[in-house]
Symmetry: C2
Subunit: 222 residues, 2 copies
């Protein structure tokens, strides 16, 4: 595959797997990564992304987005306790930031535009337990069309995890040699390291590794 790829890297398990998928597909010299500093309460995510990218041998750039914090009202940027159950108001967990992935991918496309990159890679998945509508294939496909029209470019958004279960994602990570990097990732919604093990994100991650019969390098860290 020719071309250059930009991976939206959050420092979590899924985007790290995608980073290795991109390296496998495009070659390490053709891959770079972009991380958003959007005021996430858990600043450790930025350090994880940096550590993962350096370990994988690709560049990592951080772009600030101060808008979500100004919009307010979600548990990922505000000092609100994470609620597992969907709120009555929206039918979604209070970790939902409306349009977050749309914004991330649009800014990634703008960054790609400036750098002559035509392939974006993101770890969104329909199997995400929260059912975020901006993670669905129909949404991403529509967004790709919108970005191509709005920037007059031939842009592709790759979603290697779209239809994978968490188990299948762990298996993919193993196949791509991404497991060592998993020790540097961050998943816990409560921002703890070592992870709390009880929040929805920790539970989902543990289930995926257990189902794949693979030890999680993060929780098995000495």
């Amino acid at each position: 595959m020719t071309g250059r790829a930009l991976v939206v890297l959050s420092g979590g398990q899924d985007s790290t797997t995608c980073l290795y998928w991109a390296i496998d597909r495009f070659g390490v010299d053709k891959v770079s990564s972009l991380t958003f500093d959007y005021g996430q309460r858990h600043r450790i995510e930025l350090a994880c992304a940096k550590e993962v990218a350096a370990f994988a041998g690709v560049a990592n750039e951080v772009l600030p987005i101060d808008t979500f914090a100004a919009l307010g009202g979600d548990a990922l940027t505000d000092d609100i306790e994470v609620q597992e159950q969907p709120t009555a108001e929206t039918g979604l967990p209070n970790t939902f930031v409306p349009g977050r992935n749309l914004i991330f991918l649009t800014f990634a496309a703008a960054y790609a535009y400036r750098h002559g990159i035509t392939d974006l890679v993101t770890g969104v998945a329909e199997t995400d337990y929260s059912g975020y509508p901006d993670c669905r294939e129909t949404t991403i496909s529509s967004l790709q069309k919108t970005l191509c029209l709005g920037m007059e470019v031939e842009l592709r958004i790759h979603t290697p995890l779209m239809r994978r279960s968490k188990q299948a994602t762990v298996e993919l990570a193993q196949a791509l040699g991404a497991l060592p990097a998993m020790a540097m990732t961050h998943t816990c919604y409560n921002g703890q390291r070592p992870p709390c093990g009880s929040c929805p994100a920790c539970v989902l991650r543990a289930k995926g590794f257990a189902a794949a019969g693979i030890e999680d390098p993060l929780t098995s860290r000495p």
Copy 2:
């Protein structure tokens, strides 16, 4: 028309006309306005938006976006001289910020989501002399679909100026009683007030008023 509308208000001629269009269509009590502080060199735009909104009797909220300045490389946020001619690199003037309107409208949709608003109004027009691809009807239509899918809402993006010439926009402003507010708007790419009269934006504005046979309340200010 029922429902509530959010107008993306830049403080310029077009978005001010749209504000009056929305007031006419939805009623002044159902309209609010949103302005983005995206690091524009001409800070006067923010003051104009505020003045226009207050004059029209609608609320105005400002949301910061620090990402464009971090992306860099355009004449609207950087200290780069405005060039009328398209650059060889992109075929677009150097005032082009890739994806700017996509970002504005996606954040506006997120804001609308939080406030139970389902109608967005924007002043983009295909007739914009610069040919920005994110101002075209096909792009906006695709974006509306993307936002509806990505946020699971029934959202409408209204573009009352899409197919209007600058002359027709001036005529619409007159019909809507928006002319007095035009004295408070800002158009000049060089950030001057009174306007420089020679930049592409000033020239285009002057042509529109001249063609409509209407005196521009901004340039005819005592």
